[in-house]
C-alpha cells in the first residue's frame, strides 16, 4: 500500500514537471534567444551560449516602449474593472432572478462575440470617430468590452448560479437588499471565479493587436503588442528576432507577477467563506 502511494506520488510530481516543462520551454527558448544576436539566432541550442543584453537595451531605450507598457496596464486594468463591475451585477440578475427570456438574453450576449474581429473593425472605427475617442485609450477600453463583457458575464453567471440558495435566503430573511447580497455574501464566495475571469480578460486586453493598431496613432498612445510590432530590423525584410524575444520576455513578466499576486485568491474560494453559513 505504502509502496503504491509512493509510486503515485512520484508519478504526480513527474506529471507536474512535465506540465511545467512543456508550458515553459518555448518561453525559456525565447529567453535564451533574447540574449543572442546575429547569426547565433539561427543556431539551435538548449543551454545559454551568450549573455548579451544588447537586445534589452535596444528595446528599452527604444522610443516609448516603457510608455506602451504603462498604456497597456491602464487600458487592460480599466477594461477588466469595468467589465467585472458590469458583469457581477448583471450576472446576479441572470443567475439568481427568474424572468422569462433569460436563455435568449444570454445567447444574444454571446452572439456579440461570434463575429470575427476584423468584421467589426470598420463599424467600430466609425463609432469611435463619431464619439471623438480616436487615438485615446478610451477607444480601446470601449472596443475591448466587445469581447470581455460577454465572457465575464457568462462565466460569472455560471458560477453564481451554482452558489447554494440557502445562503441567499438567509440573507433575504435578514433583510439584505440585492446589492448587499452581491457585495457582502456572493463576492467573497466568488473570488476564484472573479480572479480567474479577471485575469483571463486582462490577458485578452493586454494582448489585443488589431484594434490597438487601428484606433491609436501616436507612439505615446500605443499598447504593448503594437510596440512589439514596431520593433524592426535594419530593413523591411529582416525580422528583429533578438529584440522581439527580449520584448516578449519583458511584457510577460508583469503578467506572471500579476498571477503570483492574485493566485492566493484563485484558490481562496469556499474554504474561506464557509458555505454552510
Amino acid at each position: 500500500m505504502a509502496g503504491s502511494s509512493i509510486f503515485w506520488n512520484v508519478m504526480f510530481y513527474v506529471g507536474v514537471v512535465l506540465i511545467v516543462l512543456i508550458a515553459v520551454f518555448p518561453f525559456y527558448y525565447a529567453l535564451l534567444s533574447s540574449f543572442e544576436t546575429g547569426t547565433q539566432l539561427f543556431i539551435p541550442n538548449f543551454l545559454p551560449q551568450s549573455f548579451d543584453t544588447a537586445n534589452y537595451t535596444s528595446v528599452l531605450s527604444g522610443r516609448a516602449f516603457g510608455r506602451s507598457i504603462l498604456n497597456s496596464v491602464f487600458v487592460a486594468s480599466v477594461t477588466v474593472v469595468a467589465a467585472l463591475f458590469l458583469a457581477v451585477t448583471a450576472s446576479y440578475a441572470l443567475a439568481r432572478v427568474r424572468f422569462r427570456g433569460r436563455g435568449l438574453l444570454l445567447m444574444t450576449i454571446l452572439g456579440v462575440s461570434m463575429f470575427p474581429q476584423i468584421a467589426v473593425l470598420s463599424g467600430l472605427f466609425e463609432l469611435i470617430n463619431w464619439l471623438g475617442l480616436y487615438n485615446t485609450p478610451w477607444s480601446l477600453i470601449l472596443s475591448y468590452t466587445i469581447f470581455t463583457l460577454p465572457f465575464t458575464v457568462w462565466v460569472l453567471t455560471t458560477f453564481m448560479r451554482d452558489l447554494p440558495v440557502e445562503i441567499e435566503e438567509a440573507a433575504i430573511v435578514d433583510g439584505a437588499t440585492p446589492w448587499i447580497i452581491i457585495s457582502r455574501v456572493f463576492l467573497p464566495l466568488l473570488w476564484p471565479a472573479l480572479v480567474t475571469t479577471g485575469l483571463l480578460a486582462f490577458i485578452g486586453a493586454w494582448n489585443e493587436f488589431l484594434f490597438a493598431l487601428t484606433f491609436t496613432v501616436d507612439e505615446t498612445r500605443r499598447t504593448v503588442p503594437v510596440a512589439i510590432a514596431l520593433l524592426s530590423g535594419a530593413s523591411a525584410q529582416e525580422i528583429p528576432w533578438g529584440p522581439i524575444m527580449a520584448a516578449s520576455v519583458i511584457v510577460t513578466v508583469p503578467l506572471i507577477v500579476l498571477v503570483l499576486i492574485f493566485q492566493r485568491k484563485i484558490v481562496a474560494g469556499l474554504t474561506a467563506g464557509g458555505v454552510k453559513g
Partner: protein
Amino acid sequence: MTTTITASAERAAHRETGLQQQRARAAFWFLAPMLLMLFFVAAWPLFRSIMYSFTDATSDTIFNGQSEWVGFENYLTWRVRDNGEIRWRGVLADADWWNAVWNTVRFSFISVALETVLGLLVALVLNSEFRGRGLVRAAILIPWAIPTIVSARMWGWMLNDQFGIINSMLLSVGLIDAPIAWTARPDTAMIAVLIVDVWKTTPFMALLMLAGLQMIPRDMYESARIDGIHPLKVFFRVTLPLLRPALMVAVIFRLLDALRIFDLIYVLTPRSEGTVTMSVLSYLNLQQFGDYGEGSAQSTLLFAIIAIFVALYIWLGRVDLSGERS
C-alpha cells in the same frame, strides 16, 4: 425587458409578490448598464457588418455610402453564359470557402477536445496540495500570456526544418531520422497548428476549470473520503457533475475562439488549402482585397455557423441556459 420581468413576477403571484417585485426591479437595474453598454458598443458594428454583406461595398465606398444594394449576390448568384451554361458564384458556391469551413470545423473539434481533456488534467493537478503550486500556476499561464503574434512566430522558428529546435530535439532523441518540414507540408501543417494551439490555450481551459474545482465545497470530498469511495469514482460521481457548468462555459468560449481562429494560422502556415480557415478568408477579403461585400458575407456566415454550433452544443450538452432546472 421590463415586460418579461414583470410577466414573470406576475407568475410568482400572492404572498411573495412584494419581495419578488423588489428583486425583479433590482434585476432590471442590475442588467441595464451591462446591456446598454454592450448595445452601445456592438450594435452599430454588427449591423454594419451584416449590412455590407448585402451590398457591393469596397474599402473605397464603405464610408461614403456609394455602395449599392445587391441582395444575396455575395452569398449566391448565377449567370447564364452565352453557351447556355449556368455559372454559380458567391461565397456559397465557392469551393475555397467550403474547404475553409471544413478546415475550421476539423481544427475546432480536435483542438477543443484535446484542450478540454488536457485542461482538466492540468486543473486537477493544480487543485491538489503540493509545494510550489503557486509558482506552477504562474508558469502554466505563460503560454496564454505571450501575445499570439509573437508565439506563432516563435513556434514557426522552433518548427523550422533546418535550424528549428524541435527537429534537432527529435533528431537527437532518435524519434525521427530526417528533419520534418512541419509547416511546409500540407499534411503536417495542420498538426503543427494543433500543437501550437493546444500549447497556447490549454492554460485558458485549465484556469477556468480550476476556478470551477475551487467552487466545489471541500466537505463533499471529505465525506467521500470518510466513506472510503475510490478517488476515480469520486471524480466521476462528484467532481465531474459539479464541474460541468464551468466546463461547459469554458468549452463554449474555446469553441467560439477556435471557430474564429485567425492569427495563429495566418502567421504560422503558408496560405495553402491545407490550413486556410473562414476567418483567414474573411480577413483577406476585408483587409487585403478591400472587398467588403464578400468579406462581410463570409463573416456573417461564420457568425451563423458559430451560432449553430453553440446552439447544438447547448442542446446536446443539455446546458442549463435559463437556469430553470436548478
